[in-house]
């Protein structure tokens, strides 16, 4: 295993949508490894490395709130674009109030996590040069630099981040029944190499800490 890092992330709201409840988004109780990986990649990533999440510390109590918005119901049809490009003229707009859906989201609020992660070489480029990648990540995280603003599940929920060098703070979830419990099956990540297959794991929180199974472990199910 190469260098591990700890990143403290926090934000006002978050939505890690459960794939089984997609029409009206409902967030998982805690951040998924997949969303955590996305946060690290927003700060530093190259094709030469692959981020792997080892552990998630849930610092703040898990609280939900509800938010309903007017949303557009359709995606932009690709064929219409190519057709219009070819013809050189035409109507290419969506009318937001004619193609409208009102969708509610069950959001998490006031979240804070400590993400423990490391990266592996993917075998392309200079992935073997672990010191280089670890240093670049560390420098960026210390200076607050990012490739794009990392977010908590959806882009409207941007997150603050800071490199954690000292001890991991203890969870603020006061009740032991809340901080140690079964979170059920959660999305682990999507396997983009194999037709975007979702992979799941059985998440358990012990004193606010969720251990994440490693790739190729028998605990990762698809």
């Amino acid at each position: 295993m190469s260098f591990g890092i700890k990143l403290r992330v926090s934000g006002d709201f978050a939505c890690f949508s459960r794939p089984e409840m997609k029409v009206e988004r409902v967030s998982y109780d805690v951040i998924t490894p997949s969303a955590a990986r996305g946060i690290l990649e927003a700060i530093y990533w190259k094709p030469a490395i692959r981020w792997i999440i080892d552990r998630i510390h849930v610092i703040n109590p898990i609280r939900f709130t509800n938010f309903r918005r007017n949303e557009v119901e359709n995606k932009i049809p690709f064929n219409n674009i190519t057709k219009t490009m070819k013809r050189g003229e035409g109507q290419l707009v969506q009318f937001a109030d004619k193609e409208r859906q009102q969708r509610a989201s069950m959001l998490l609020r006031d979240v804070e996590y400590v993400l423990e992660a490391h990266f592996e070489a993917t075998g392309t480029g200079d992935g073997g040069n672990t010191g280089k990648h670890a240093d670049i990540f560390r420098r960026r995280a210390e200076k607050g630099q990012c490739f794009h603003r990392p977010y908590l599940g959806c882009r409207e929920f941007p997150c603050d981040f800071a490199l954690l060098t000292g001890d991991t703070p203890a969870t603020r979830i006061s009740s032991p029944a809340e901080s140690t419990r079964d979170l059920g099956f959660m999305l682990w990540d999507i396997d983009f190499a194999h037709n975007n297959t979702p992979m799941f794991f059985h998440a358990r929180m012990e004193n606010g800490i969720v251990d994440i199974p490693q790739p190729n472990s028998s605990e990762v199910l698809s």
Partner: protein
Amino acid sequence: MSALENRYEFTLLFDVENGNPNGDPDAGNMPRMDPETSIGLISDVCMKRKIRNYISLAKGEEQGWNIYVQESSVLSENRQGAYDSEDVSKIKDKKEKTLKARDWMCRNFFDVRAFGAVMSTTTNNCGQVRGPVQLSFSKSIDPIFPQEISITRMAVETAKEAEKQDGGNRTMGRKFLVPYALYRLDGYVSAPFAQQTGFSDEDLEMLWTSLVNMFDQDHSASRGKMSARKLVVFRHDCKLGNAPAQKLFDLISVNKKAECEGPARAFADYAIEVDAAQVPQGVELLEKL
């Protein structure tokens, strides 16, 4: 147009007087608020809508400034005449075709270039653009206390209603309003994403203009008096930035003045301080309004 080379963060302060800045469809159109703290909220998409509307008013049919997601109240005929005559059909490679279409959408539509868009394709290859401009939810500085106002209408809709009322012909309606609130919106502009969509310095200037002016083109019976009050921009002198965003946002403090007793009812009741001395090296503070 060359794409942005700098990361930006920005904070917009705007207020509402006797209006409903953003209704909650779950609460009968009452102003959105955080049920636990009574802090007023405005969705990210509400503000994006206003930016889009302003751009389409300001730029009209000008090439490159089309708005993809329109409100039908802007009933302009969208004949987009002078498109580049790229012959997409000649391209056999599916991936390349998607890329071409994606670039073309970015070039022609401001909202695709700024906020991104999901464009479905027939294959798994997802024609999706993430735009550089990212907005969070706006939050009010102090808790809000929405008021419900009953109003009457001196007419009825149908003859049947008139008969029921023996010709009284009156109906009642309700309106929600926030007497006064100052809201804060924090946003981000990512330079690497700008390079992917071709979001340029000119686009950025237009974004600032729209943030300052959009409320002036968005008056309606429900919104009351809404105005942009202050726009502070942090410009990093490099692509990735030189300071954590939260540290920059913390430099702007907005507080109700001590001498204001009771609830705030005007912008003058608030003191805004921008701690210019603490701006880190490599970050430039620009006050656009």
